[in-house]
């Protein structure tokens, strides 16, 4: 372990990211005067950011163990489609109160998500296949099942009340933001304040040594993939509410972007270190760039180039900072 000096330089990364975020907000505000720095825009970004942010958190925890969860978005949509089918069926049957329909739908989404997570967890933890391979396989399976069930089209026909989850707000704060903040707090607490969280870092650092030290690494990993899947389920509910329909291909670009947000936030791709809050800041950075450029009117493709540039720049700076840390110790 790095000890005090390591902890400080890890936090230096976090301050650097925050400063970068502030800089980008200031920059966007200057380039779109009177439009970016408004309550309306921040509220709008709050609506959009939540579903991606929650997925990114789910991805981060998997990466912290030295693994990855490529099936994240596909399990979100599969569970969302299952819930959507139920809600549509109950809505068409008539006579069932809206709240019951919505609650049942959400319950189904979470149950199916957890099942997907357990499938991943079983193969990674108990069978011992590399997570990259397992989740690559499950990604294809979940996607295939989704497409088969929906035949490529969208499922809709939910009670109108359901849209309120994705569209409603209280005191100008979108419900989706509140759910996102709750997810952040839960993740932060579980990962950085519980024994399970410590084991997550340890497994990411050196799985064998962790196992020999008496920790049940299989249980730890299973919980990681279930947690990841729970995040996916929540994101799935938000997406279905915002788009008022469930389709197999919603959010397909989110998978790799979630990995990008994770590493941008300071998590080592090999596992063993990282902060939930780092991922959250990175998600904010990506959102600010995307919304800002849309408002200014810049081509979508340039947005991708700039995002990639920021990612490479931050990773390079992190690399050199880590090297300097190692030299100072020696």
């Amino acid at each position: 372990m790095d000890g005090a000096r390591g902890h400080f330089s890890r936090n230096k990364n976090q301050y650097f990211l925050l400063a970068l975020l502030m800089l980008l907000i200031a920059g966007m505000s200057l380039m779109a005067p009177g439009k970016f720095l408004t309550v309306r825009n921040f509220k709008n970004m709050g609506f959009q950011m939540a579903e991606f942010g929650i997925l990114a958190i789910g991805m981060s925890v998997a990466i912290m163990t030295g693994g990855i969860n490529l099936s994240l978005v596909n399990s979100a949509m599969l569970s969302a489609i299952a819930g959507a089918f139920l809600m549509r069926g109950m809505n068409e049957a008539g006579g069932i109160p809206d709240l019951v329909i919505i609650a049942s739908g959400i319950a189904v989404v979470m149950v199916v998500s957890i099942l997907c997570g357990m499938i991943n967890g079983y193969f990674v933890a108990y069978v011992g296949v590399a997570s990259l391979l397992v989740t690559l396989g499950t990604q294809t399976v979940f996607n295939g099942v989704s497409l088969n069930i929906t035949r490529g089209s969208g499922i809709s026909g939910f009670p109108e009340l359901f849209q309120r989850i994705g569209a409603g707000s209280v005191l100008n704060i979108p419900y989706t933001m509140l759910i996102y903040v709750a997810a952040i707090l839960a993740a932060w607490y579980l990962v950085e304040r519980t024994p399970w969280g410590v084991s997550v870092y340890m497994v990411g650092g050196n799985e064998k040594a962790t196992r020999f030290s008496g920790i049940n690494t299989k249980a730890v990993l299973m919980k990681v993939y279930v947690f990841s899947a729970v995040m996916a389920g929540v994101a799935g509910v938000l997406m279905v509410s915002r788009y008022n329909s469930a389709r197999a291909d919603y959010g397909s670009s989110y998978t790799l972007q979630a990995v990008a947000a994770t590493v941008l936030g300071g998590t080592d791709i090999n596992g063993g270190s990282g902060h939930i809050l780092g991922t959250v800041t990175a998600v904010c950075i990506l959102q600010v760039v995307s919304s800002g450029f849309n408002i200014i009117g810049i081509n979508r493709n340039i947005t991708d180039v700039v995002t990639g540039f920021i990612l490479v720049a931050v990773l390079t700076i992190n690399y050199f900072a880590a090297r300097e840390r190692r030299h100072k110790k020696a």
Partner: protein
């Protein structure tokens, strides 16, 4: 220090009223296919003629979720009207509600949208007449009204395509009872390449296939490519909604028999004119004349506007059209 800075930034939020030229957003299902490139030309030309700001923008794929996000960001920018051709009418219904709350006029064009308060639905043609016309042309091209046929469509959720298919199938059920549809409409996701692949699959699975209808502009082209490759011009008839310049080579060699469409540039122009008139209090009436478009029809529901009758491209007339 940084915490104070961020607090200050957040506390100094100011609501701003954007006073600018009249801004109409025309959003297609996706950008980059010839049909929607042609509508862009018409829409932007209308903008220049009227002296207003026309923003023609859309997602790079037929992705309903991307459309929603773009509309949300455009609302921040401040617009007067949104004219949308949605990929999935259900997916945009929540965001059209947001448009309504922001007092943005919403009209749909090319295909219908749900939700919010869509003031006008701008259709290029009468849906029922169009669907039936395509099926009539299929039978004409097949040379017989009995035989197997298949449908290649765009996205399965596109409302306009599904409407035409439904009218066509209903019509065929009574008028052409011996016409047999071999399977459900096959999606090609607005890609000629995909339509080509799907047509090859259909030809392999149904060797007695006599006709193919391509609905959505890249589909008949893709189907014709497959027919041309297999040399089945005389065995299988292909008709569909395709653009004349794309259709020309296939019409000439017989792999495409009829292209049945309208002028999408005119549709773009009509959309902007209708939006502009509505924003400026000009009443839209049945039979009124729109510059560059002609006389339009307003149906009794007060909402649906029909541009005109369909046009047919054949190997004899296709060279007259430049879009």
């Amino acid at each position: 220090m940084k915490k104070v800075l961020s607090l200050v930034l957040l506390l100094s939020l100011v609501l701003c009223v954007a006073a600018s030229a009249e801004t109409i957003v025309v959003m297609p299902k996706l950008v980059g296919i010839p049909y929607f490139n042609a509508s862009q030309v018409g829409a932007e030309a209308a903008g220049k003629e009227l002296g207003i700001d026309v923003i023609y923008t859309g997602p790079t794929e037929g992705d309903a979720a991307q459309q929603v996000q773009m509309i949300e960001d455009l609302l921040i920018r401040g617009i007067d009207c949104l004219a949308i051709a949605p990929n999935d009418p259900d997916a945009v219904s929540p965001v059209l509600q947001k448009c309504k709350e922001a007092n943005v006029l919403v009209v749909d064009w090319d295909t219908t949208a749900k939700g919010g308060d869509v003031k006008y639905s701008i259709h290029q043609i009468d849906d029922k007449a169009y669907g039936e016309f395509i099926w009539d042309k299929l039978v004409e091209a097949m040379g017989t009204d009995s035989g197997e046929y298949a449908i290649v469509t765009g996205y399965l959720t596109a409302a306009n395509l599904n409407t035409w298919i439904k009218y066509g199938e209903d019509y065929a059920a009574t008028k052409y009872p011996n016409l047999k549809l071999v399977t459900d409409p096959v999606p090609s996701d607005e890609s000629a390449q995909e339509a080509y692949t799907q047509t090859l699959a259909l030809l392999a699975a149904y060797p007695d296939l006599k006709g193919i209808i391509g609905i959505s502009t890249p589909a008949p082209i893709g189907a014709a490519m497959a027919i041309q490759e297999k040399g089945l011009q005389d065995k299988v008839a292909v008709v569909g909604s395709s653009m004349p310049t794309d259709s020309a080579p296939y019409l000439k060699d017989g792999s495409l028999d009829f292209g049945i469409l309208w002028d999408p540039g005119m549709l773009g122009k009509l959309t902007v004119y209708v939006a502009h008139d509505e924003l400026n209090g000009v009443k839209i009436e049945n039979g009124m004349e729109i510059p560059g478009v002609g006389k339009i029809t307003l149906l009794d529901d007060g909402k649906t506007i029909i541009m005109g009758p369909p046009s047919v491209w054949t190997k004899d007339n296709v060279d007259q059209f430049k879009f």
